[in-house]
């Protein structure tokens, strides 16, 4: 199974993601520079965290115009699983692949802490191994992580089961405590917390198993045993 990790100027979680995909889950991962195209035989695409273009203008907006995004959009349309983490989520939102927008945290602080997520949709390629409402201890690290949608869009998201993760408690002022959403088809998922920083027991002081299920869900979707 081939997984593409897209690298933008300013990505800084690409190597953590690559390490987890290859060393922890034995996947065939490849980096793809944002100016290149994605090969047609790719099985999943991950947009990692970081500060693409130094968050200039607005987090994710400049990277959303990178040439590779056209390929990501094509693959998303074909139903290929796409995951955006943190800055990757911001890029997915700014490129129109996911609804909503990510604003500065209400505290205006860069927040680097452990949070608890609640799984709200366990039908996506990244959540199919979870029980509904399962709790995931997972770190966040962002300055612009406050997910916002207007009331009309929020109703639509609820109706179409597009809210994938919510924070267990108020963290940054996100609408409806949303931490992650998916597109209508469910194959494109964006989340602010960092699963790649939580799947190994050596760096997760709480419980690494729930975060691992995000990657195990992808393996299960692809019919691959770890």
């Amino acid at each position: 199974m081939k997984v593409g990790v897209v690298v933008f100027p300013g990505s800084n979680c690409d190597r953590d993601m690559y390490h987890v995909l290859t060393d922890v889950f034995n996947l065939d991962a490849q980096y793809y520079w944002h100016e290149k195209s994605l090969p047609k035989n790719i099985d999943a695409v991950i947009l990692p965290g970081g500060f693409s273009y130094g968050d200039r203008l607005r987090a994710g907006v400049i990277a959303a115009h990178s040439p590779i995004i056209k390929d990501v959009q094509k693959m998303a349309k074909k139903g290929i699983p796409v995951l955006g983490v943190c800055n990757g989520f911001q890029i997915l939102v700014e490129s129109g692949l996911l609804p909503g927008v990510l604003l500065k945290n209400e505290s205006l602080n860069f927040m680097c802490e452990w949070t608890n997520l609640i799984v709200e949709n366990n039908k996506t390629p990244f959540t199919n191994q979870f029980k509904l409402n399962q709790k995931i201890p997972i770190p966040i690290a962002n300055g612009e992580g406050r997910y916002y949608v207007d009331d009309k869009t929020l109703k639509e998201l609820k109706k179409k089961n597009q809210i994938v993760f919510r924070y267990d408690e108020v963290v940054n002022g996100s609408s409806n405590r949303i931490a992650g959403v998916c597109n209508e088809d469910g194959n494109v998922v964006g989340m602010m917390p960092h699963p790649e920083r939580a799947v190994e027991s050596e760096i997760n002081p709480i419980d690494n198993k729930p975060s691992s299920l995000i990657f195990e869900s992808l393996l299960s979707k692809m019919g691959v045993s770890n």
């Binding site: 203008l57 115009h65 700014e94 909503g100 604003l103 505290s107 205006l108 916002y148 949608v149």
Partner: protein
């Protein structure tokens, strides 16, 4: 063709919270003696210099750029475009 300076101001739409503006108001201005201030909103300004045949064209061209390239996010922000002779 003439040269114009175009100021694009991006600010949150009414109803979208602006914690930075609120902090400047509540924790700086109103803590001093300036009690007559009732609101502060932060905004980002981009200053373009553009060559176009007239002011109107300069304004519509900048509006097109802002919309096409998502210089502002229409869900939460609005833009004001002011054109000046350079």
């Amino acid at each position: 063709m003439a040269t114009y300076n175009v100021h694009v101001t991006i600010e949150n739409k009414p109803g979208i919270s602006d914690p930075e503006g609120e902090t400047i108001l509540n924790d700086l201005v109103l803590k001093g003696t300036h009690k007559t201030v009732s609101k502060i909103k932060t905004a980002k300004m981009l200053k373009f210099t553009i060559k176009e045949k007239d002011k109107k064209t300069a304004e519509s061209k900048i509006k097109e750029i802002c919309d096409d390239l998502r210089i502002y996010n229409p869900m939460v922000s609005k833009v004001t475009i002011d054109v000046f002779d350079a």
